[in-house]
Chain length 371, copies 2
C-alpha cells in the first residue's frame, strides 16, 4: 500500500489540484436533479461560465470526460460522408483524427511539427481547394504547450461553409477565449483543468451557424450526446440525462472564485506564473520545448537535455518530493517534462516547482550552471 503520510503535490497539466472550497462543494447533499433547488445552481453556473468562453450561448453540461466531449462535438456536427480538416500539432489533434475515424467519418489533416502551430494562411489555401464540414482545432495542445491562434483561424473559417470546432479542454479558464468574437462554432471543455474541479463534467457551447447544421440532423448516430436534446434541457436549467450534480456544485464554486479574483486577473496570473516557470526552468538548463508564437499559460513543456531521461525526472520528483509532474505518453516520451500552470496555482507553487526541480536534477547528476 502507498504511504498515506507522504507529502503529495499534484502538478500535472490536468487533472489539477482541487481547492478545498471546491472539494467541500462536491460534498453537498444531493437534491432532485429536476427540482427548483438544482435549477438555481444550474442557472448561476450557466451565467458565470459565459465570460470564460467569451460567449452568449447557453452552455450545455454533460456527464463526460474531455475526450467524450471531443467525440460529442464530432458526432453532432458531422454526418456520414462528411469530411473534417483537423489541425494536428500534437497528441490531442491526433486523437481527433482517431475519433473521426472511429465514427466512420473522414479526416484530412494539416500538420505542423509538434511544438509549433498550424498557420492560418495554410488553412485558407486548404479551404479554397476542398469542402469540409468542419475545421477542428485544439486551443491548447497540452502535449506540447502550443496555443492555436483561434482569432486568425476563425477569421478564415467564418468565410467558408465549414464549422470551426475547438477543443479547449486545457485552455478554458486559463487562456483567453472569445468564442463569439472569434467565430468559433463549437467549443468543448471539461472540468478538471483550469476550471479547478475533478474530472467528470463536460461543457459545450454551440453557435447559431453550428445549430443550423445540427438541427438538420447531421451526425445521427448518437443519443446521450445529442446536442439538440441537451439544448432543450439547458433551456429549462437541466441536463438531458441525470446530471453529475457534485461537479456542477463544484464548477459553480470554481466560477465564483474566478469571478471574485476577477476574470482578467485570473488570466494575468496564469500568464505571469507560466512565464516565471519557463524563465526559471530555462535557467536550470531545460529550455521551453514550444516554438510557436503563442505559448500556453496553462501548461509548460520543457526539453530534457541529452543525457537526462524525462521519465526518470518525473519518477524521481515523485519518489523523493511527492510532486507529480508529467512526462509524455506519446512520441516525446522521455524527451520532455510537462508541468501544469493552471487552476489554483500561486507564486509559492512556482517557487517550490523550481526548488524541487533543481534538487531533483542535481540528484540525477545534472550540473546546473550558475544562471
Amino acid at each position: 500500500m502507498t504511504n498515506k503520510n507522504k507529502p503529495y503535490r499534484l502538478r500535472l497539466p490536468g487533472p489539477t489540484a482541487v481547492p478545498e472550497r471546491i472539494r467541500m462543494a462536491l460534498a453537498k447533499p444531493v437534491v432532485a436533479h429536476r427540482g427548483p433547488e438544482f435549477a438555481e445552481v444550474m442557472a448561476e453556473t450557466g451565467q458565470l461560465i459565459k465570460p470564460l468562453l467569451g460567449t452568449d450561448n447557453d452552455v450545455m453540461a454533460f456527464t463526460s470526460s474531455g475526450t467524450g466531449m471531443m467525440e460529442a462535438a464530432i458526432a453532432n456536427v458531422m454526418a456520414p460522408g462528411d469530411k473534417a480538416l483537423v489541425l494536428v500539432n500534437g497528441h490531442f489533434g491526433e486523437r481527433f483524427v482517431q475519433i473521426i475515424e472511429a465514427l466512420n467519418l473522414k479526416a484530412d489533416t494539416l500538420v505542423a511539427p509538434w511544438g509549433e502551430a498550424v498557420g492560418a494562411d495554410e488553412l485558407a489555401m486548404k479551404l479554397r481547394d476542398d469542402d469540409y464540414r468542419a475545421v477542428i482545432a485544439v486551443h491548447n495542445e497540452s502535449s506540447t504547450g502550443a496555443v492555436a491562434d483561434l482569432e486568425k483561424i476563425g477569421s478564415v473559417v467564418r468565410n467558408s461553409d465549414a464549422l470551426l470546432v475547438v477543443d479547449s479542454v486545457s485552455g478554458a479558464g486559463g487562456l483567453e477565449l472569445q468564442q463569439d468574437a472569434w467565430g468559433v462554432d463549437v467549443v468543448v471543455t471539461a472540468s478538471q483543468k483550469a476550471l479547478m474541479c475533478p474530472p467528470g463534467l463536460g461543457l459545450a457551447s454551440v453557435s447559431e451557424k453550428a445549430w443550423s447544421i445540427i438541427e438538420k440532423g447531421a451526425g445521427q448516430a448518437r443519443y446521450c450526446w445529442d446536442f439538440r436534446r441537451a439544448r432543450e434541457a439547458a433551456a429549462k436549467g437541466q441536463t438531458a440525462f441525470t446530471s453529475p450534480m457534485p461537479l456542477i456544485y463544484g464548477l459553480r464554486e470554481s466560477l465564483r472564485m474566478i469571478h471574485a479574483e476577477g476574470w482578467t486577473n485570473t488570466l494575468e496570473r496564469h500568464r505571469k506564473l507560466s512565464s516565471a516557470l519557463r524563465a526559471g526552468v530555462g535557467a536550470l538548463g531545460l529550455p521551453t520545448f514550444t516554438k510557436c508564437p503563442m505559448l500556453s499559460s496553462t501548461v509548460c513543456v520543457f526539453e530534457v537535455p541529452d543525457g537526462l531521461d524525462g521519465s526518470a525526472i518525473v519518477r524521481h520528483l515523485y519518489e523523493t518530493r511527492g510532486t507529480v509532474i508529467a512526462g509524455s505518453r506519446s512520441k516525446l516520451k522521455g524527451k520532455v517534462i510537462r508541468v501544469g500552470t493552471m487552476g489554483c496555482i500561486t507564486d509559492e507553487d512556482i517557487r517550490l516547482d523550481l526548488e524541487q526541480l533543481e534538487g531533483a536534477l542535481s540528484d540525477l547528476g545534472w550540473a546546473v550552471e550558475a544562471a
Copy 2:
C-alpha cells in the same frame, strides 16, 4: 431563491440520498489518475463490486450517466445491420428502443403491459423464429416497479447466439443479480441508485461470450465507450480516459458500507423495507401498481385512486413536508406515485414516508379508511 432552511428529504427512485460518509469521500484530494495511489482505490473498488453483480468479470468504470451506459452497451455489441430484441414493459425498455434507433440499428420488441414483465416462454418462441444479436432487458423497470426474471430469461438466451444485455441501473446494489450464474452477457449500472453515490459514474461487466463479439469489432461507431479500450485500461487499474475520481472514491466507500452490513443483509433490508412501504401505503388506500410476480425492492410504485392526481400528491408532499417523491414522466403521469426504497434507507424513512403521505392525502381531501 428557494428557502435554504426548509427541510428536505430525497425519496426519489434515484438519484438517491447520499450518506455523509460517502459525500465526505467525494471531497478527498484529487490525485494523479494513473498513479499508484489511485490504482489502489480502483483495485479495491473493482473487487468489492463483484459480489453485487454476481460476477468474476473485471468491472469497467466510465464517466457516464445510466443512459450513457445503456447506449454504450448497444454501441459495443451491435454492428450495422444487426437487430436486437428489446423486452419492453416500461419507460426504460422504450428508451432502449429509442437508443437503438438513434444508432441506426434495428429493434424488435416483445411488449408486456406496464407493471407486468415479459415472460421467458414468449421470448423462447421469438428466439426460435428470428435471429437477434442481442436480447435487451431492464432488470428493474423503475417506471413501474417490475423486476425481470433474469434467471429464466438467461436460461433461454444462453441457448441462442444472442447476447443478453441487461440494464440494472436501478437494480444493482438493491436487488439480487447473478450475472455469471444466470448467463447475463452485459450488465450496465450507474452510481446514483442503490449504490448510494451521486450521478456521474457508469459501470459495465461483460461476459466471455460478449467479448467474442465485441473483439471482432462489432459496433464500430464509438470511441470513448469502446469496451475494448476500457478493458485494457481496467487490467491496469485505470480507466481509458480521465477517471471521475470523486465518484470512484465514493463508490469504494459505498461498497465498504455494504460489505460491512453484509451483502445479503443489504438485500434483505431492501426487501423488508419495500414490503413494509407497500403494505403501509396499501392500507392508506393506494394499491401497488406492479402486477408481475417479482416486485422491486428498490422502488415502490402506487396507483393513485380516481379523484386524486399523482402530480398533486408529489407537489404537496414537497411543498408542505420538503419530501421529494416521484410521479411519472411518461404515460402514467398523474396516475402513479413512485418512492425509492434503495440505498441508505432505514425503518425510520419508511415510518416518515407513511406518516407524511397519510398527512398529505388527508390535506388533499382523501378520506383514508381505517386500516
